[in-house]
Symmetry: C2
Subunit: 360 residues, 2 copies
Amino acid sequence: MTKIAVNLPAVPARSYEITIGRGILAAAASELADAGWARRWAVVTDANVAGLHLGTVLAALRRAGVSAESFVVPAGEAHKTLPAAADLAARLLEGAFDRTCGILALGGGVVGDFAAFVASIFMRGIPVVQMPTTLLAQVDASVGGKTGVDVPQAKNVLGTFWQPHAVFSDLALLDTLPVREWTSGCAEIVKYGVIAEPPLLDGARGLRQREPAVVADLVARSCRIKAAIVAADERDAGRRRVLNFGHTIGHAIEAESGYTILHGEAVAMGMVCAARLSHRRGHLAAVACTAVERALAEVGLATVIPPFLRADDLLQRVARDKKKAGDAVAFVLVTALGEPVIASDVTEAEIRAVLQDVTA
Amino acid sequence: MTKIAVNLPAVPARSYEITIGRGILAAAASELADAGWARRWAVVTDANVAGLHLGTVLAALRRAGVSAESFVVPAGEAHKTLPAAADLAARLLEGAFDRTCGILALGGGVVGDFAAFVASIFMRGIPVVQMPTTLLAQVDASVGGKTGVDVPQAKNVLGTFWQPHAVFSDLALLDTLPVREWTSGCAEIVKYGVIAEPPLLDGARGLRQREPAVVADLVARSCRIKAAIVAADERDAGRRRVLNFGHTIGHAIEAESGYTILHGEAVAMGMVCAARLSHRRGHLAAVACTAVERALAEVGLATVIPPFLRADDLLQRVARDKKKAGDAVAFVLVTALGEPVIASDVTEAEIRAVLQDVTA
């Protein structure tokens, strides 16, 4: 069992720990029982996760003497909306939940974002504890305190910064994860290797085989990297933007595919583009660029953009995203493995060239 | 023109100023132009206020070179909901508003709560500036950073703490305020007199007459009192609860009347109850208790509960509110004028007795 401290210098009272390990549910439950953060807990989960893990989690909580009730929400991004948040809030009120209660988010990134958002606005904010059940959520979404819901026009446009009181990542919960979800999660681990800690890339094969020691090690190291970056820039004003490596083009691919390409799969393609763009600019050595693509391939991710996605459409999406962020465009490049840099002068021609280069 | 600093020791970067005066729109606009808090402003207002003040405000902003567009939302508490927040967010996106923009809330408490809530979650938080147009909003709702929306079961159950970048209270905007709205706002001023600064009560007659010097003085002193209390307890964990003087029974009266009794009118009746309860307990001298009721009468507020409201129903609502706040019941009493105290042992029998005493 590994514990990682997330220190938030701006508001030390909101610092917290991430606990990572296999079979840590009992330990998590007794920590909740002892901490006294809330009198009662609402375990928010979706219909899919409920069938797999809800019984086990509730049993662990009960054994530790934690008062908990479950609230199952419909699965999927389509239900990560403000009206759905209003529904959950109404159900919490009917269940007599109040400001002395907390929310335990049990699920992947969508459940985590949504449940933490509701926690952040219910009675103007109640504690939330994250219990991520996907690899992606364990290494990314559950860490950092970003919450969000979607509007029809775009994802995560509404949200808050609301740090959890704790994150419990039980690696045993990942055993039920389908291959494609697993592989998608690996993309973010490769990302940490590229932007912060190149040796992570050596674990790619073991990650694909789900070797327990490799998984435990890489999940912990990924969380440590994200925690350090978040600590330096909680509200995403500067340094934290390096976490978007591969995401500018990745988001465009994900959206343009109608979300048939998973987040991690799209980010992998985006990372290939960002690495090649870095190389074209003379920043990144060819061998390093190849190492990124090899690591992605080793975990089982595609490193080419499927031909049904047209460069023109992707470019248009990227341009729209840029506009959304105001005038300052943040395109993350790397000058070497582990050395990210924010470039604000990437041209449309450069992006077009690399998209054509990377498309199958 | 008076400026009052709201210092928030927890996060000094979020401290801000309240500017109060008659005809300060031009000054406010040029402050917005100079401050650089946002590239563009969305002026959010409701259909009623739009007809009265929107043109004037937009003209002032334009003269100062501030880029602003108006977003008119339906008037009334019924539209202070999460789905309405989603609608406004969608309109902001369509208007290409992004994280470099800000929201200017022009209106009463409902508009202020709602617009600030949307600002607090739009792109995970953009600046909000309050421009309150009712007396109640100028002395209460616009100060303190509480935002909120309603669910069908209860008011302000969902919300955030999101401090404005500035509050501009133009007293000239109050000239169009109907008598009943004016009188309702006076209740909160009397409250500040009772819980913090007894000399405020001497201004009651002048307040009713809307004497400009008295109004300017009392609005500023009220804001100063609230700012000091909020500074000491931004997140409502302790001291800030004294602001609820008169509100425990007041909320019950307001809700039980189906909101036909305005907030301030209900709080006035609640204050009479709380003062008499303080007197019955031997805390408050009879003369002080009378002074509270006299001040309320002088501003034009009823000091008795209308007979159509039954004590049993009010008691039930109070009990339900108590449950909502967990086990700790916060009933604010006064041991002398200006000396509030939180009592957690007020019994149902005491409340019933005082309700019967105060009902017409």
